[in-house]
């Protein structure tokens, strides 16, 4: 069997899968597009790879020996299942084998085409860690001016986009479909994509990297709004400082006025905030949004304060001012004229600021590819497609995408989501439909496979291939690791 490759110079490998004996460079495939050099290893790249419309090639699994008088000796179906089941291989620079050529189109007997592809329904869900306003819910998200999706309901500390799907891919203009496909593929392959939101911001999204909103890279997710930060840290500040102001472009919090401060019997300090008071200790619009303290434009935090009330304030009072990410912080004492004077920060307050920082996770864009494995793909695996679905639901069959774990959505069909940063580089391809090509593998035990009506006649070669290098597990990179 074609199982080995001879190492050659320059990381090229020589494939001996067929007599052409291609030299294959890393990241490239041989003349057949079926075997490829993946980091110096020969991997098989074909049939288990395809979403949705895998296979008019499901027919590969139907024996050629249709009748009893056929001379079965000249026909062979070697190991089509070897990669379809449990190979776990994936491919560099995947180019699908001739599917269009075998697709049937009404009124056309055959198709001539330079290259071939696969068709699918799919999209990506994008989570953007930022509290900045990206645009209203349901607003259209555009790439190169074309609508490719929309803003969906926000999540904690994050704005969510839903992109792609069959309507943008094939329901609109040619350009819309192409641009959508390009954007989906780039996002899925962890490349940066600039998106503009109707009535909102321009954001550069790249899986595993911080979002760039209107030209400014987000660094950390804030621990909470200014008010929430007061709530979380009030106890840690109690007794160590008289007043704390958490500067935030959304809601700035003031410890002594805040409910959390009141509960700790923290006395009034005579502080005067600029901005619009929402509820006690919570202020809106203390400054214009910007890239300074707490997402505001200010560089001097004192500019959000008015003069202290001389009836309440007294010289020597202490005050911590900190941003919601802890990236900015300053410590003050009131002088005889009740003016705050910056002083070196006491160690225990410094620790509280570090604690805020520690609780701010890095702001990231995360991209989940979502696609559905339809009837034809399942039919390629078993005589009775719905049993594959059931075995997936019953966790007998493990679904992976390019070797990465997936979440299979409950309900009908095999609709899955996968974190694109966990797939090998360049795992996603695209085809003219336009649509994405994504890897998907089903892995299950032979006994379970037989039970679900698999084409068991073709499984026999599997056992003889136990030591075959074609069967290998893709190493799984830790979540979020980038290449």
């Amino acid at each position: 069997m074609p199982t080995d490759a001879t190492a050659a110079v320059d990381d090229k490998i020589r494939c001996d899968a067929c007599p052409v004996m291609c030299y294959i460079k890393p990241g490239a495939a041989g003349a057949c597009d079926r075997y490829a050099n993946h980091n110096g290893e020969l991997v098989r790249v074909d049939p288990h790879i395809v979403l949705e419309r895998t296979v008019s090639h499901g027919g590969r699994l139907v024996p050629f020996q249709a009748g009893g008088d056929w001379d079965g000796k000249i026909v062979h179906e070697p190991g089509m299942f070897v990669t379809a089941i449990g190979a776990g291989t994936t491919y560099p620079d995947y180019k699908p084998a001739p599917f269009i050529v075998s697709s049937e189109i009404d009124g056309v007997d055959m198709v001539t085409v330079v290259t071939e592809g696969i068709f699918s329904y799919c999209g990506v869900k994008v989570k953007i860690d930022t509290d900045r306003y990206l645009g209203p819910e349901t607003a259209t998200v555009r790439a190169q001016g074309e609508a490719i999706g929309h803003v969906t309901t926000g999540e904690y500390g994050s704005q969510m986009l839903s992109l792609g799907g069959v309507h943008h891919l094939t329901g609109g203009s040619k350009k819309e479909g192409r641009v959508t496909c390009d954007a989906l593929m780039d996002l899925s392959n962890c490349k940066p994509v600039e998106l503009t939101i109707d009535g909102g911001a321009t954001v550069v999204v790249q899986a595993g990297y911080p979002p760039i909103v209107n030209g400014v890279a987000e660094e950390r997710m804030r621990v909470g709004c200014g008010s929430a930060t007061i709530g979380m840290f009030a106890k840690q500040w109690h007794g160590k400082v008289d007043e704390v102001v958490v500067v935030d472009d959304h809601i700035t919090g003031v410890l002594s006025e805040h409910q959390a401060g009141k509960l700790l019997d923290i006395p009034d300090t005579g502080i005067k905030m600029k901005g619009r008071r929402s509820t006690p200790g919570r202020y809106f619009q203390v400054a214009e949004p910007g890239t300074g303290w707490g997402g505001t434009m200010i560089s001097d935090p004192l500019s959000v304060l008015g003069p202290f009330d001389p009836k309440t304030a007294r010289p020597g009072m202490t005050m911590l001012m900190v941003s919601t990410t802890g990236e900015h912080a300053a410590y003050y004492e009131l002088d005889a004229a009740l003016k705050p004077i910056e002083k070196p920060m006491p160690v225990d307050l410094k620790l509280s600021v570090e604690r805020i920082q520690e609780n701010c996770e890095p702001a990231l864009c995360t991209v989940l590819f979502m696609g559905g494995a339809g009837g034809s793909l399942r039919a390629g695996v078993t005589d009775n497609p719905v049993r594959l679905t059931r075995s997936v639901k019953d966790a007998l069959t493990r679904v992976t995408s390019g070797g990465a774990p997936v979440y299979v959505w409950p309900g009908g069909g095999i609709t899955f989501m996968v974190d694109v940063t966990r797939l090998p580089a360049g795992a996603f391809g695209y085809v003219p439909t336009p649509a994405l090509v994504a890897p998907i593998e089903f892995t299950l035990k032979l006994s379970d496979y037989a039970a679900l009506g698999g084409h068991i006649d073709y499984v026999r070669p599997l056992s003889s291939l136990k030591d075959n290098t074609e069967i290998r597990q893709m190493p799984q990179s830790p979540s979020g690791q980038l290449t």
């Binding site: 699994l61 070697p78 007997d109 055959m110 001539t112 094939t170």
Partner: protein, 303 residues
């Protein structure tokens, strides 16, 4: 275990799929049950070992063809050489430029030797050998740029036409191109001739020295490419309408010469959404073909 080709039915149970190494054929024949069976049997027999025959002479097949003589032994290899020989004086071309068409032709020939068939074809990844009985015709679909959706053009090949081969070449395929055409589809007497001519015409669709065209040595991409260090097209940026016209015209001029020389029956050249037809009599057939629009195509693809 000896390597064996993969031979099986497609899901429809009608069309046979033959695959071995880089060769991938879809075969369909019409005729009586006995004849169909005999034909598919013959196809399977002829296909087994065919790749090995070719590979035995691979070094020679990868060398530039000599217009004056042919040292190749195998029937398919010699057919490849014969198909590219008419171009070898003026162009760098190796017999490999006609491999797909020549294989398709060989399998079709084996079937016709063994059985009486009505309309039948062997489609080798888009390079197609046709057989048409009296009064029959085929409708061949042309993909627009394969990486974009869009209008599909169709060509009707009638039994009265001389055409028995259709092939497509371009920069998006598995093989490399010196040119920038998205696709050049050629109708010719045989599949191997169509294959060779499509390669030559696709190479001619070009804008030498244009900054938006990225080229690199073929052997950087495929170490054992028959094109060696010659620059092949990797990417083509956005071109202006005039540039597209110029590039297509350069290919069309080449196609007209081949038409005049009797080497092709017609050609359809496509670049960035623009299409040029070069054809003498086949032009009527081209026009009578009903365009299949994207919507129809999608629904056909998504069932």
């Amino acid at each position: 275990m000896k390597r064996v080709p993969q031979i099986g039915w497609l899901a429809d149970g009608r069309r046979l799929h033959l695959q071995d190494g880089p060769i991938d054929l879809i075969v369909e024949v019409h005729g009586s049950e006995t004849n169909r069976r005999a034909a598919y049997d013959a196809a399977a027999r002829r296909f087994t070992g065919l790749l090995d025959e070719l590979c035995d002479e691979l070094p020679l097949l990868r060398r530039a063809a000599d217009p004056a003589r042919c040292e190749l032994q195998g029937a398919v290899a010699r057919r490849m050489d014969a198909a590219v020989a008419p171009f070898a004086l003026d162009h760098f071309i190796t017999p490999m430029a006609a491999v797909a068409g020549a294989v398709a032709e060989e399998i079709l020939g084996a079937m016709l030797d063994a059985a009486r068939l009505e309309r039948s074809y062997v489609n080798n990844g888009g390079d197609i050998a046709l057989h048409l009985g009296h009064g029959e015709h085929f409708t061949v679909g042309l993909m627009d740029r394969p990486d974009r959706p869009g209008l599909m053009r169709t060509i009707i090949v009638d039994a009265d036409d001389p055409t028995r081969g259709v092939a497509t070449s371009g920069r998006h395929g598995r093989s490399f191109s010196f040119g920038i055409a998205d696709a050049v589809t050629v109708l010719a007497r045989t599949a191997s001739q169509a294959d060779a001519a499509a390669t030559i015409i696709a190479n001619a669709v070009d804008l030498p020295g244009h900054p938006a065209i990225v080229r690199c040595p073929a052997h950087d991409l495929q170490p054992d490419s028959d094109l060696g260090a010659r620059l092949v097209t990797r990417d083509v940026g956005e071109l202006t309408g005039h540039e597209i016209e110029d590039a297509l015209e350069s290919g069309a001029a080449c196609a007209r010469n081949l038409l005049t020389a009797g080497l092709i029956d017609g050609a359809v050249l496509r670049l960035q959404g623009e299409t040029v037809l070069v054809s003498a009599r086949a032009i009527d057939a081209l026009r009578s073909g009903t365009p299949v629009y994207r919507a129809a195509m999608e629904s056909a693809m998504h069932v």
